[in-house]
Amino acid sequence: MIRLSVPLRQALSRLTLPVMLVLSLGAVLVGRADQGLADRLRGALDDVLAPAYALVTAPVTALEHGSGVIGQLFSLEAQNQQLRAENAKLLQWQSVAMALEAQNDALKTALNYIPTPTPEFFTAHVVADLGGVYARSVLVSLPPGLAQSGTNLVGAIAMDGRGVAGRVVEAGDRSARVLLITDLNSRIPVALGAHGLPALMAGTNGADPALLYWAPGKPPAEGDVVLTSAEGGAFPPGLPVGVVHYDAQNDPVVLPLADIDGLRLVRLFCYPSNQPVLAPEHETPKTSAKSHRRH
C-alpha cells in the first residue's frame, strides 16, 4: 500500500465523492450519446443475473404452483369450483369450435386460402420482475442452445396462456428482456371488435393500457375484443390482447388478457421477418423493436 501523508489522504477522501459525481455525469452523457451502450451493458448484466435469479425464483414458483401470488394457496377451494364451472362451459364451446373449424376448413378450401407461416416458439421462465418506476419489463431465462441456433429473438412476441404480454427488446445468450404492454413506451397497433377497427394501444405504466387514435365517429365499444393488427408490420395480425373497457374517466382502456403482474411462463414467438404483409401497403418502413422503444 502506498503511504500517503495524512492531509493528502484526507484531501483524497474528500475528493472521491465529487470525482465519482463527475464520472456519473459523464456516464449519463455517454449513455445519451450511445444509446446502444446501455442496452449492451444491460444485456451482459442480465445474462449474468438470469441463472442466479432462476435459482432463487424456482422455489418461489414451486411454492405457489406456478401461478399468481402465494396468497392464492388459501383460495384453492374457490378456484377449484370456478375451474369446474369453467370446464363445463368450455366443453360446450369445444363442440362449437370444432363445428366452426370444420366450416372454416371447408370455406378455406373453397377460397384456395394460403396459410400464414407458423412461427417458431420457445417457452421461457420469467425469473425476475425488473423495471423501474417508469418502465415495465421482466427478465426471462432462455433454454440453453438457443443462441447457437442463430434465432434472432429481438422483436419476438411474448404471450402467456391467454394473450400478448409484451415484446423482447434485448436478448443475450441466456436471457431476454420483455417490455410489457403496460410500459410507458409500448405502442401496439390493434384491431377492435368484429370489424377490426384500427387503433393504437399505448402503455400508461398503469395496469390497463390506453386506446388512442381510433377511427373518428367509431369509438371503441365496451367489451370489444382487442387483437393485434399487422399495421406497420411489427406484429402479426389476430393475436388476442384484451378487452375494451371504459374507465372511471370515461376513457377507453384495454383490460389485458395476459396476467401481466403474475407472469411465470411466457411463450416467445419468433415470426419470420418475411411474412406476407396482410395489411394494406404502407410507405413506412418496418419498425424494429429497438426503434419501437423510445429512450
Partner: protein, 181 residues
C-alpha cells in the same frame, strides 16, 4: 484503522477476515437487497421499492458508517439500479451521490437527531431525490412522465424507512460493527 487496532490487539488472519466482512457488510447488503427485490413474488410496488430501498441504504449508512459505503460503491449501486430498472444510464448514480453528499454535509446535525427527526429528514431528502429523478428522466425522455409513480415512490420510501432503519440499527450494532471484531 487496521494499524491502530494492531497496537491494541494481536491481528491474526481470522480477525482480519472478521473485520473485513464487517466492513463490507453495508455495501454487500445494499447490492444484495437490490437484487433480491427483483424476485417475482407478485407483490405490487416492487419497482418503486427498489429505488426507495437504495435511498434508505445510502442515507442510513452515509450517516452512521460512511467509511463502509464509499462514493465509488454508491456510484456502482446507482449504475446497477439504472441497468436493472431501465432508467437512463448513470441517472441514479448521480442522484445517489447527491443524496450521499447532502447527507454527509448535514451529518453533524443529523447524527444528533432522534429517530423521528431522522425519519423526517430522510423523507424530505427522498422526496427531493425522487422529484429530481422524475425531472431528469422526463428531460432525457423528452416527455412529461406521469406523476403518480413519483408519488408512489416517495410514499414507499417514507413507509419503508422505519423497517429498514430498524434492521440497519441492529446490523450497525452487531454484524456490521467493525469495532466489535
Amino acid at each position: 484503522m487496521a494499524r491502530r487496532a494492531s497496537v491494541r490487539r494481536d491481528m491474526n488472519i481470522w480477525r482480519r477476515l472478521d473485520m473485513a466482512s464487517r466492513y463490507i457488510w453495508p455495501a454487500a447488503l445494499t447490492v444484495f437487497g437490490l437484487l433480491i427485490i427483483g424476485v417475482p413474488l407478485g407483490l405490487p410496488g416492487l419497482a418503486a421499492l427498489r429505488p426507495a430501498y437504495v435511498m434508505a441504504c445510502v442515507y442510513f449508512w452515509s450517516l452512521y458508517r460512511p467509511s463502509s459505503l464509499p462514493a465509488p460503491v454508491v456510484a456502482l449501486t446507482g449504475l446497477l439500479l439504472d441497468l436493472l430498472g431501465m432508467s437512463p444510464l448513470g441517472m441514479w448514480a448521480v442522484l445517489l451521490l447527491l443524496l450521499q453528499g447532502a447527507t454527509l454535509l448535514a451529518r453533524r446535525r443529523l447524527i444528533s437527531f432522534s429517530f423521528l427527526q431522522n425519519w423526517l429528514a430522510f423523507s424530505g431528502l427522498a422526496a427531493v431525490v425522487s422529484l429530481l429523478a422524475w425531472a431528469l428522466q422526463s428531460l432525457l425522455d423528452l416527455q412529461a412522465l406521469p406523476l403518480l409513480p413519483l408519488g408512489v415512490q416517495i410514499f414507499v420510501a417514507i413507509g419503508v424507512y422505519p423497517l429498514l432503519a430498524w434492521m440497519f440499527i441492529k446490523a450497525h450494532r452487531g454484524a456490521a460493527a467493525v469495532e466489535l471484531a
